[in-house]
Structures are given as C-alpha cells and as structure tokens.
C-alpha cells in the first residue's frame, strides 16, 4: 500500500527521503513524490517508479516523501503526493481514506483544488487553521478532529524545521537518530539509519524535529514505549538473487527453524507457545473462527483442518471482508483468530474488531512485531519468518501453517483432543519440515524443466483433497499473481462438477498427491483430466508412485506437513513460469504487499 517517509536532521533530506521511498517500494505503488522544506517548499511528484523522480537540488534538511497506490483518483502526476495548500507552503502526505472529504471540500469553497484526491483537503484545512502564533502540532490536531476515516498523515511547513504526524487506523512509526529523527509508515523506510523506534497509536499526534520527538494524544502529552527493532536493514534488501521471491523461497528452511525454535517440547508432548489463555477458556471453546485474506486465508484453511483433527474443536474460516459474528454462537465460547502477515491488513483488522465487539476472545497470528493487530487482540502468536519483501507470500505461508500446526497440538493437548503419543508424532513431523523443504529446494532443477515445458499453457488447474485443498488454492494463487497465467485451484472432487469442461490438451493439471491429501482419490480425478488430453503433474509422497503422471515431484515423509512441502514445488513452479515470461515478479501489476484499505 502507500508508504510514508519523513526526515528532520542535518543531512541532505533529498537523498535520505528518496532512499526511504526505494526501501518502501516493495509495498507496491503507482506514483511517488517528495517535498523538501526549508525557506521554500520544493516538490517533485510523478506517476510511475521512484527512479522517475527528478529530486531538485536543495540544501534542505527537512523532507517528506510518499509512494501512492491509487484509491481516489487515477495514478497521475497531479494526484501523486505530497499535496499542498493554496500558498504552496504546507506539504502533506497521507495513507488511508478520508471518508468525509466531500463535506470538508464543500466547506473550503474559497480554496483552489488541483487533484482528485481525498488527501488534498488536509493541506487546505491546515491553511485555515495555521496562524503565525499557532504551533503546527495544534493546527494538525484541530484538523484531524474534523477528519473521518482512517489515516496516517505527515506534514511539513515552510521555514519550520519540524514534521508533524498523526495516525488513526493506518500505521506510523517514528525513529530516533543522533541529531536527526525519522518517520515512516513502517520501519523499513529508515531501518538503515536507526533501529530505535516508537510505534504510534490511534489518536496520536507526534511533533518531530532534529532533537526531540513529542507525542500527544488529545490534550495530553503521552509517553510511548521506545522499542528496538531486531530486523537488520540487510534482511530487507534483495541480496544475492534476481528476485526477492526466489530468495524467500530458499529461505524457508531457515525461517521454519526460527518458527519452531524452542516451541517443541517432546517430553511434555506439547507446543510451548507463550499464550496466556486460561485453561478453563481453552476447554470451553466451542468454535475457532479464522479471519484472513489471500494467502493467509489458505494458511487458515490448512490450520482449520488440523484443529478439527487434533484440537477437537469446530472451526470456521471466513474471508475477512465477508466476516460478521453470525447467529447461534456463544461469543464467550468463541476464539477468533486473525491471520495477517503484516498485521495491518485493513479487512482483517475490521473483522477482528467485529469479533471483539461481539464479545469473542481474539488472537493474532502475524509476522510483524508492533503491528496494529497485535495491539487489538488478547494474544499474539508470532510466526518468526523474518521480513518478506516479495509481494507474493512464500515463506510466511509456510511459517503461518507451521505455527498454527503447533497451535493445533497445543490446543489438542489442552482439550484432550489427542494423546501424548499422537502429539509427539505430529511434533516430530513438524520438526522435520525444514529438512524436508530443503530436499524439495535441492530438486529445483526438476521444477525448472517442468516450467520450461508448460510455461505457454492456456490455463493451469490445481487440485487436491483435505489438506491438499488449501495448497491447491495457494498454488493457483501464486501462479496467477506473478505469471498472470490463468490458474484455478479447487477441491479435486469438484473437477467433474464444472471445471472439467475447461480441461483440454493445453491445460495441465497439478495435483497434490501426498499423505494428508487423500492421494489415491485425488489421482482418480487427475486421471479424469488426463483422459481429456491434459498433462498431469503431481507432488507425491516419496514412498508412493503414480506411474501415469507426466511429471512427478517427490515429497519426503513428514505426515500432515507433506502438503506444505508439496507447496514449495508449486512456489518454485510459479516462480519459474513467471521468470521465463519475464514478469516483474517482486511487484506484480496492480498488487500491493500489505492491503491497508478495505
């Protein structure tokens, strides 16, 4: 989504702000701009890449920048941020949506508007509030009091060596340097300069200059926790590979070792997850509701099946934007789990707030320390995958599923859903997932050969049963996201209820044929497609063989985690098809890494 960077200090703001925008470009954007501020305000903003910007020569040591992902108004130079007031002295960048901008704009009839954006009302409102004797902070507070919607705002004004930021509903973080300070929509904006940060909370307004950062909430000055970010700037760089996505696929064994580290307790036959739900509540749960979007939704589908098997609990999985707390449920016996990599997914946040409002207990499963969702739920389970930059989620899916598989064992043991012996088997299988995934990665050459053979196919169909269904769905999503090929995933049994009509010799079928995915039955469906001339590719448990497959990828024996390992082959397949087609793999058209608008 949109990205914000701001700098006040002693160095050239132009280069620091531009670098910050490049750091943020993984979020996806369609236009970018900077404002450099000293005794004048100089702006350069354009549609397209950050590299298109012609940042003016300036000695300014205060500056703000923005990458925009269009919501109100098309991606044009005019609609790019920063926006200014009539005098051109007040520069504003904004993430989120101002819902009442029509009303506000109609009250500003004496002002001249240039863009189609909702954002532009903010500098004009500020122009009206900002007198020579008011502080910028007070003016911003007066303006945000009039705004409805969700926003993170960053403001800088001519001849004032300060930046004021405000947040309500969209993430903002401030960073502490030495003789300089930073603001950003997330820490990657300025991580190479400082790792000491404060995450702002809703309603906060912060004034930042080269020495101090002061945070206000309402009329109160407040102290917010100062935290140290453990991610290194390096981890957010492309390093060593042509695309982040391939790097992140290859990082999965390391990521999963981190996910598992210290969480498996073989002798107690449970997972040690540091959750503080009281035992009575765990026993009383009647339903676990998952809310999630995209790849996280598929991870939740996988987890729900494991929870039904091991946790002895009823589950539901709802696409977050469709969620409401439905009838016939007892909120006090319900746990609603938000699965979101970024912790900022707007749809998922809205869903978890609805659950909270209905009285359900809530838990977040996320990769991002300090993210909004972690502050809104009762308990958080971190997936510990490390930063993921490629827009297409890869290692975070594996870490989400693995973390939730640990949770299913934990819950199963707490509720008596599985025996200690069975729990131990599952934990031992989970522990073997990093090694099993490494084996799949070692066979990348086989996947490249298959990608070369099938890259020009008209459509791709992914099928599976049971735990193979979410993996089939995820495999299809990955392929369409990054290669733009038409791909569909569905439960194998559904093939002959419709999609079979689309199967031709030009539409290969990929089957998840491992343990945990009813391989023999799924193979029957794959054969139905082969009978119509389609080629069939399959991910198959190492101890079985389907001789009629055209291409077979071997999956080591790791029990219920086998479909997760099969998914690694599907990730590599999607990557190599897209790479052969020269797609912009890390930044697919129209997509953004974290979707912070509903």
């Amino acid at each position: 989504m949109c990205g914000i960077i701001g700098y006040v200090g002693e160095h050239s703001a132009g280069s620091i702000v531009t670098q910050g925008l490049s750091n943020l470009d993984y979020r996806g954007y369609d236009s970018a701009g900077v404002a450099l501020v000293d005794s004048e305000v100089v702006i350069d903003k354009r549609s397209g890449e950050v590299s298109n910007l012609e940042v003016p020569d300036s000695d300014a040591t205060t500056g703000i920048g923005h990458t925009r992902w269009s919501t109100h108004g098309p991606p044009t130079d005019i609609n790019a941020h920063p926006h200014t007031d009539c005098t051109g002295e007040i520069a504003v960048v904004h993430n989120g949506i101002i819902e009442n901008y029509d009303v506000l704009k109609s009250k500003l009839s004496s002002h001249t508007f240039e863009s189609d954006t909702d954002t532009e009302v903010i500098p004009h409102l500020l122009e009206a509030e900002l007198k020579s004797d008011t502080s910028l902070r007070e003016a911003v507070q007066a303006v945000v009091a009039q705004l409805e919607g969700s926003y993170a705002i960053c403001v800088s004004v001519k001849s004032r060596d300060e930046i004021v930021v405000a947040r309500d509903g969209s993430p903002l973080v401030v960073g502490y340097g030495d003789g300089e300070n930073f603001v950003g929509s997330d820490v990657t904006a300025f991580l190479e300069h400082t790792q000491t940060v404060t995450y702002l909370e809703d309603g906060d307004v912060a004034r930042v200059d080269d020495g101090d950062i002061e945070v206000w909430n309402g009329n109160q000055k407040v102290e917010r926790d100062v935290e140290r970010v453990e991610w290194e700037a390096e981890a957010a760089e492309k390093g060593g590979y042509e695309h982040f996505m391939r790097k992140e696929i290859h990082e999965q064994p390391t990521a999963l070792r981190q996910t598992l580290s210290g969480r498996i307790d073989i002798s107690a036959a449970t997972a040690d997850l540091d959750l503080e739900f009281e035992e009575a509540f765990l026993e009383s749960i009647e339903e676990i509701q998952f809310v999630a979007c995209g790849t996280s939704y598929y991870a939740a589908l996988y987890a729900a099946e494991l929870l039904e098997r091991f946790g002895d609990v009823r589950t539901s999985v709802t696409i977050a934007s469709e969620y409401r707390f439905g009838g016939g449920r007892d909120p006090y016996c319900t746990l609603t789990v938000a699965v979101t990599q970024s912790g900022e997914t707007a749809d998922t946040l809205r869903a978890i707030r609805r659950a909270e409002a209905a009285g359900a207990r809530t838990m977040a499963v996320t990769n991002t320390l300090g993210s909004t969702v972690t502050r809104e739920v009762d308990e958080t389970l971190f997936i510990r995958a490390g930063p993921e930059i490629g827009v297409a989620a890869t290692k975070t899916f594996a870490s989400q599923v693995t973390t939730l598989a640990l949770f299913s064992v934990f819950l199963g043991r707490a509720r008596g859903g599985i025996s200690a012996a069975k729990a131990r088997d599952v934990l031992e299988d989970l522990q073997r997932v990093p090694g099993a995934i490494q084996q799949a990665l070692d066979r990348e050459r086989e996947v490249i050969d298959a990608a070369e053979k099938y890259e020009d196919s008209r459509s791709f169909f992914f099928v599976g049963r049971s735990l193979g269904v979410p993996v089939a769905l995820e495999g299809a999503l990955k392929l369409k996201e990054i290669s733009y090929a038409h791909a569909e995933g569905f439960a194998a049994g559904e093939l002959k209820h419709g999609p079979l009509a689309l199967v031709t010799p030009e539409t290969p079928v990929l089957g998840v044929l491992t343990e945990g995915a009813n391989p023999a039955e799924t193979m029957n469906n794959v054969t139905e497609a082969q009978t119509r001339g389609a080629d069939a590719l399959g991910c198959v448990s190492s101890d079985t063989r389907f001789r009629t497959l055209d291409v077979s990828f071997s999956v080591p024996d790791v029990g219920v985690a086998e479909p997760l390992v099969a998914n690694v082959y599907l990730q590599l397949f999607a990557y190599h098809v897209a790479n052969l087609q020269d797609r912009p793999i890390d930044k697919p058209r129209n997509l953004a890494k974290s979707v912070t608008v509903e």
Partner: protein
C-alpha cells in the same frame, strides 16, 4: 599505487568431489565447521583485513551460497556474484569476474580457511611497487598433495608444480591467496591448455618469464581435502565456544558449539570437539563426541556417535553405535591409513535402531539402513541395506 581498497575475488564454484556425499547437495565452501560454513571464515578474514568489496564466483549448488550470504550487508560488506556455468578450472573461474574488476585485486579460494594477516600481507605487497602477481606460500607436512612452489635465490617463485609425484625437497606450498593486476585475465586467456584452465598453469608460465613475488605465511591454514579433515578442522575451531547444559542431567563439554533450536533429552552427553546445527533433536542418553551434526538431524535415545559427520536431516534410530578411532579409508583408488574417523552419513539418510557402523563407514545421501544391521565401508547414495 591505487587509492581505494582492492576487491577480493573468492572462488566458490567448485563441487569438491572428494568430499562426497557431503557435497552432493552443497558446494564444498558451504561445508560447516564449528557452526558456520568454511566460506564464512574466508569472508570474515577478508573483512577483518579491511576489504569490503567481494565478488563470489559461484556455480555448483550456488543457491546455498546466495541464500546464506545475500548481498553481504550482514557482515558490513558489499558482495556481488558471477556465475561459472561449467567447472573448467580455477583460471576459467577467475575469468568470469573480468567485468567486475578494473584495478589490482586479491583472489582467494572459498574452501581454505586463512587468517586475516595473510590477506593483509598480500594486500600490502600488491599496493607496493610490484607489477607481477603476488603469491602466498605456507609450509605443510604433506606438500605433495598441493601445489609445490619452487623458489630462486631471492625467494621469488619460478614455478608451481601441482601434486608432484617425484621426491621434493621443500615443504612450501601455494597458500591460495593471490594479488593480481587486471593483466592476469589476458595472461589466463593466453595460457596454452589441453583441458581445464588452471590458474597455476598461467602463473607457472608467467614465472618462467619473470619470477613472482612471494609472501611466506606461518599462521592458521586449514584445508578440508578429505571427509576426515572436516572432523579435525571442526575440533580445532570449536574450542573457543561454549554452551550451557540443557538441564542438570545433560553434560556439555566446554568446546562444543550448539546452534539455536536444538533439543536435547535427559542424560545426553556431548563431548568436546562437537558442533550441533540448528533444529537438531538429540534423544535421551545419547553420547556424541568429536563430531559434526548438521541441521535438522534427529538422533534417537541411547545412540553413541564418535569422530563422525552426520549430514543434514539424517535420522538415526535408538541405540545405534558409530565407533570412532583409527581406521583405513579408501577414496577412489587410493588407500588412506591411520585415519581417525567414525562415520560420514550423507544428507537425509535413515539409519534404523540398533545399527552398528564400523569406523570409516561412509553412507550416501538418502540411503536407508534397516534396524539391527552391522556394516561398514562405502554405502552408495539411495542404497537400501537390509538385515541379512
């Protein structure tokens, strides 16, 4: 003279065939010693010598290297990559870096651990008056396994002879750290060759025309040529680290290196000279001594492992015994005696419960040995050994 620090080109494209099965799935520079790959020691020494620009020549199983080192920011370095698609010798490998080099530069082997002081000495010599290549040499006990250096009266090299079969009267061998002018690329291209393009062939030709400047080095120099060298190199580097006991029933020696996420059952004993990789699971009452355990391995209760290398994701059943001590090992056609080696188990192999492996056993990747088998010698990749 040149005003900026030179670039270091590190050759890391090789497979390391003598180290199979451990190099079936990773290049030789990525073999772990005391918790990190050999190449990481090389890169850290280069960094310690004050050099921050590194070009890695990669080829065989290069994903392992790219994933581990990325662009080098973690080490405060700028690491770039060039690819050697086919292994056609060290000279050919170096040629791949031609486009990235404009000034005098250093070259190192990615599979030999050297001290920063050697790199610094070669760098000093390179920045001096000399226009000829600078080569480094060190004394070893078995010079005939390496490139032996002939010197003239002024201690300049007049030739390098690879693995001579004749009797020799020097112990000085090529230590593998070089200082070059960009003219070396032209010299490599002009080298007459009937097969692989070896850098030492080019240097020998150059030395005939004008002897090469040499640096003699007496510090740490570790080469892993054979499987058993890995056990020894690990033991010699692990001694500066330590790990607390897991609980009161386990015993961990002072010179043991244990990565995060290792699980250890009650009564386990880990003796000195051992390193244990991430996510390894060690059962109760297991004893491990003087061994390298790669990540993700599972060792069940009561097993005893000495002087061994256990590959990544290997599983070893309960009460399996791998005996250490002196043995004789055959590699290809040559016989190596008085070798200290328990067993080397290739990645992903499955060893059943109650198996006994003789000293000097080498088990291939993904091989399976059934419970109760007693065996030894060389067991191939994907082999299945049943109880007779």
């Amino acid at each position: 003279m040149h005003d900026s620090e030179p670039t270091a080109v590190i050759l890391a494209a090789g497979e390391g065939q003598r180290l199979r099965p451990l190099t079936n799935r990773r290049p030789k520079p990525m073999l772990p010693v005391a918790g990190k790959p050999i190449l990481e020691y090389v890169i850290e020494a280069v960094a310690e010598a004050g050099i921050s620009d590194i070009v890695l020549v990669v080829g065989y199983r290069q994903e392992r290297i790219r994933t581990h080192f990325g662009d080098g920011t973690h080490w405060g370095l700028d690491i770039g990559y060039v690819e050697q698609r086919r292994q056609l010798g060290t000279g050919h490998a170096l040629l791949q870096a031609t486009e990235k080099i404009a000034d005098p530069f250093l070259m190192l082997n990615g599979d030999r651990i050297v001290d920063a002081s050697l790199i610094d000495m070669v760098n000093q010599a390179l920045t001096g008056e000399t226009q000829t290549p600078v080569i480094s040499m060190t004394a070893v006990e078995t010079p005939r396994e390496y490139g032996v250096i002939q010197l003239d009266d002024a201690d300049r090299a007049t030739g390098i002879e690879e693995k001579p079969e004749r009797r020799i009267d020097t112990s000085l061998i090529n230590a593998g750290v070089y200082g070059f002018q960009p003219a070396i690329f032209e010299a490599i291209r002009d080298t007459s060759t009937s097969g692989e393009l070896e850098l030492t062939a080019t240097l020998s030709e150059m030395a005939l025309e004008s002897p090469l400047e040499t640096i003699e080095y007496t510090g740490e120099w570790l080469d892993v040529s054979h499987l058993w060298d890995l056990v020894e190199a690990n033991a010699s580097l692990v001694d500066e680290r330590a790990h607390d006991d897991f609980d009161t029933t386990t015993h961990i020696a002072a010179d043991v290196c244990i990565d995060p996420g290792v699980q250890c059952g009650p009564g386990a004993v880990i003796e000195g000279g051992t390193s244990v990789g991430a996510n390894v699971s060690i059962g109760s009452n297991v004893t491990i001594a003087n061994s390298v355990i790669l990540p993700d391995a599972v060792i069940q209760s009561g097993s005893v492992i000495e002087d061994s290398v256990i590959g990544s994701n290997v599983s070893i059943g309960a009460n399996t015994t791998i005996e250490g001590g002196e043995t004789t090992v055959t590699v290809g056609e040559s016989l190596h005696s008085e070798i200290e080696l328990g067993a080397v188990i290739g990645d992903n192999a499955e060893i059943g419960a109650g198996v006994t492996l003789e000293s000097g056993t080498v088990v291939g990747t993904t091989a399976v040995i059934d419970a109760g088998v007693g065996t030894g010698g060389r067991i191939g990749d994907d082999a299945y050994i049943r109880r007779a």
